[in-house]
């Protein structure tokens, strides 16, 4: 989603979110990520202004203090940016890929099933289709990318072919490199 993305070209405008909008986002987030409930006031405090960056392809990015926090496409789920996820690694369920897959992911490839089922990989929890997951890597502490499952985990092990997790946001993609945004 963010392979080609830059602050200059892709962002079409910023607005400061109204308090009611912020409230809506907060409730949505806590619903979506129950793990996040304890930290929500650290991530999105009630008092501080929250900015919404409108971007191409109907992407919205939430920003506070020049720090990009979450994004979503159309009316999809809010997805944390990798930087936020590195700080709060527990908010998303995880899958782990084997070592060979890392560099493909870093260049934006979707994650194929064999990369999730081989000995170096792990899928500890069973997840349904269309879940936002943190993609960890074998032997690494931090996650490499954030993806969305295209099959349920059971299916991934059974079929073991094709795209298992769609790569949404990975290290060093456009969104990652857009560390902060200057208006």
């Amino acid at each position: 989603m963010f392979r080609k993305f830059s602050a200059g070209e892709s962002v079409s405008g910023t607005t400061q979110a109204k308090a009611s909008v912020v409230r809506g986002i907060r409730t949505k987030l806590t619903e979506q990520y129950p793990e996040l409930a304890d930290y929500i006031s650290d991530i999105i405090p009630k008092k501080e202004p929250l900015h919404i960056l409108k971007c191409h392809d109907h992407i919205e990015i939430l920003m506070r203090d020049n720090e990009l926090l979450l994004f979503r496409q159309r009316d999809g789920p809010y997805i944390p940016t990798l930087r936020l996820l590195h700080k709060y690694p527990t908010i998303l369920p995880r899958v782990q890929v084997d070592k060979g897959a890392i560099r493909f992911i870093l260049s934006g490839a979707n994650i194929m099933c064999p990369g999730l089922t081989s000995p170096g990989a792990r899928m500890d929890v069973s997840l349904p289709q269309d879940t936002v997951v943190a993609v960890m890597a074998e032997g690494k502490e931090h996650c490499v990318s954030i993806g969305m499952t295209k099959m349920s985990t059971d299916e991934i092990t059974r079929v073991n072919k094709g795209i298992g997790v769609e790569n949404i946001h990975f290290l060093c993609d456009g969104l990652w490199n857009m560390k902060d945004f200057h208006r």
Partner: protein, 171 residues
């Protein structure tokens, strides 16, 4: 991840200053050796840890760039940043009878943000200033003499040698 630090959110994560990824991923960056050099200076802890892992794995020290060769085109080609000629051209051009503007070309080659620079100029010289081209800033007013000192002050990477005075130019 270690289980014992579960309570201390948000985690503080260190990032490599060269490739911007967490240090453990530096081996996948475009130029790992540069990352390691940076890490040696700035994050010695991470460096020693990575070195230890690498030594354990294959007995090869890091930085020698031993890469896995399976698969073909996953890695991006190393993009070498073009070493553009660093030069700052400053000229003055007549606008109306007794008015002129100062044109500064070449700030981009010093990694200076044009928009910010123009704001600074406007503030400092109390005049209008705008970004007019890909790499051009126009300051409304004759600030030909003062601007170089100001630029050198604000961005020490610019030195007298870089500056080229173009004198009066027709626009």
């Amino acid at each position: 991840m270690a289980e014992d630090d579960a309570a201390s959110f948000p985690l503080a994560v260190d990032y490599c200053g060269v490739c911007s990824m967490p240090p453990e991923y530096c081996e996948y960056s475009a130029d790992p050796s540069k990352c390691y050099e940076w890490m040696k200076v700035n994050l010695p802890d991470h460096y020693s840890r990575i070195e230890a892992i690498a030594a354990q794995l294959e007995g090869v020290s890091v930085g020698e760039g031993k890469r896995q060769t399976r698969g073909g085109k996953a890695m991006k080609k190393v993009k070498i940043k073009e070493e553009s000629v660093k030069r700052l051209c400053i000229s003055r051009s007549q606008r109306a009878k007794r008015k002129c503007v100062t044109v500064i070309v070449g700030l981009k080659s010093f990694d200076i943000e044009l928009k910010k620079a123009s704001r600074l100029f406007a503030g400092h010289f109390s005049c209008g200033s705008s970004v007019t081209g890909d790499d051009e800033v126009v300051v409304q007013g004759d600030v030909y003499d003062g601007i170089v000192d100001f630029i050198k002050d604000k961005w020490p990477q610019v030195t007298e040698d870089h500056v080229k005075y173009m004198g009066d130019q027709k626009r």
